[in-house]
């Protein structure tokens, strides 16, 4: 009869495996392994193992080797492992616990007690795994909502700025690609994938401060006067003020990245940007990346005051320094990704 739960029994002595199998066969599908190597092969292949009863001392790979491997693959988080041993070495048993064994059962064991202990732990793990699954789904949902909210905010700015909603999508996509390329080429700038995803979302809000800039300046067809440009520059600082008014609306990390990008995406590598005149790596790598992406997107898009440049011309202008100075490493990575676009 097929059972819902599966138990893997690992012991080099057949008698021990048979006794355990007999004790659990009414409630579990039984799998057996005669050494650590076989056990790892089964653990790697099967997705339905509810628990492992693991002998400590075995030929080839012993119980501790099995635990080490399960730590390496992360399986130890989801599958409870009971060490069943006749060994007396406190050091080994302690190492077993440190490697994540849920319990240690001494031979000779009382089957009835062992059954209860295994059943309880398997039930707890099932509940925990189920709960983790639910939480993961909720977090995914929360992240989707978060992203929608950020995109909605960005869209409002774009409509005022007479742009289509495509700009934010391009900003986010290109920021993630460039962040990844920069990190892959220059390890000192490497950021974890999960963070890059957040930076991509945060980049969308880089121009949120434009909502506070008067229409006549924001949508002026011609060149801005010095006075008008000074007002326009304020969108970085105004954006931070807007973000400060809604710190709890979005995920904390996305908020922090948004704030930094919003304030510093017009800073330049040589210190000639605004609003703080930061230079070099005093500007965060994400703000530097968004700066390049923002300039590229502005050049290749049509605006009220200019027509769109083709990609090659835009890249050349950026590399020539016509749009201000950027981190040479980012420019190298940027050249590489533009070839692929």
């Amino acid at each position: 009869m097929q059972r819902e739960k599966t138990l893997l029994i690992v012991d080099d002595i057949e008698i021990n495996r048979m006794i355990l199998a007999d004790a659990f066969q009414d409630t579990y599908n039984i799998l057996e392994a005669g050494d650590g190597e076989q056990a790892l092969e089964i653990i790697g292949r099967r997705k339905d193992i509810s628990a492992v009863l693991l002998d400590l001392l075995m030929p080839k790979k012993d119980g501790l080797d099995v635990l080490r491997d399960m730590n390496r693959t992360g399986k130890i988080k989801y599958i409870p492992v009971f060490l069943i041993t006749a060994a007396d070495s406190t050091e080994m048993l302690l190492e077993g616990y440190n490697l994540g064994a849920i319990d240690i059962i001494r031979k000779p064991f009382m089957t009835q007690f062992l059954q209860r202990r295994v059943d309880h732990i398997v039930e707890l793990y099932e509940q925990r795994n189920e709960l983790e699954h639910v939480v993961k789904k909720q977090v995914e949902k929360f992240n989707r909502l978060n992203r929608s909210l950020v995109e909605m905010l960005a869209s409002i700015i774009e409509f005022r700025d007479c742009e289509s909603g495509e700009h934010v999508k391009r900003m986010s996509g290109l920021t993630k690609i460039l962040m990844t390329e920069v990190g892959d080429t220059y390890p000192e700038y490497a950021v974890r994938e999960k963070e890059i995803e957040k930076i991509g979302t945060a980049s969308i809000l880089h121009d949120i401060g434009k909502i506070a800039i008067p229409d006549k300046i924001l949508n002026k067809p011609g060149r801005l006067t010095n006075e008008e440009f000074e007002i326009m520059k304020q969108h970085t600082v105004k954006g931070c003020e807007i973000l400060r008014s809604m710190p709890n609306v979005m995920d904390r990390d996305i908020y922090n990245y948004s704030y930094d990008i919003c304030r510093h995406h017009h800073e330049r590598w040589d210190g000639k940007g605004y609003p703080d005149g930061l230079s070099g790596d005093n500007i965060s790598i994400w703000a530097q990346v968004v700066s390049v992406v923002d300039v590229y997107d502005a050049l290749t898009s049509e605006r009220v005051y200019k027509s769109a440049y083709d990609s090659g011309t835009a890249v050349r202008m950026i590399l020539n320094g016509e749009c201000g100075a950027f981190n040479p490493k980012i420019l190298k990575a940027f050249e590489k990704i533009v070839e692929r676009l």
């Binding site: 002595i13 007999d22 006749a86 000779p108």
Partner: protein, 116 residues
């Protein structure tokens, strides 16, 4: 007399073992037959090399585990001591314990074989 009765007289805690097997005496008897086979092919013999005995320690440890689960108490106690002595680097003393248990061990194995 039955196998269980005879083993009791040889010091095997058959009641405890059968309880461990959820009261399944016939399953216990099958396990005893396997155990006898395991003991017949055991490399743990009194003439083992006192300078190289890692394999002997491993085999003695296996006997300790299996005999414990089957409550073959005289063998379990002796092999627990043998394993302890071998791990403590006292192979000569381990041999003495092995010599002492061998007659009982042979009697238990012979008894199981008689009924198998």
């Amino acid at each position: 007399m039955s196998l269980i009765e005879e083993l009791k007289q040889l010091g095997v805690n058959t009641d405890e073992a059968i309880e461990r097997m959820n009261g399944n005496a016939s399953f216990y008897e099958r396990m005893l037959v396997k155990f006898a086979g395991m003991m017949k092919s055991s490399i743990v013999q009194p003439d083992f090399d006192c300078n190289q005995y890692a394999d002997i320690t491993e085999a003695a440890h296996a006997i300790k585990g299996a005999s414990g689960n089957l409550s073959v108490t005289p063998i379990y106690r002796a092999y627990s001591e043998i394993v302890r002595l071998l791990r403590a680097g006292q192979p000569q003393q381990a041999k003495e314990v092995l010599d002492a248990v061998l007659p009982v061990q042979r009697a238990i194995i012979a008894c199981i074989e008689k009924y198998s």
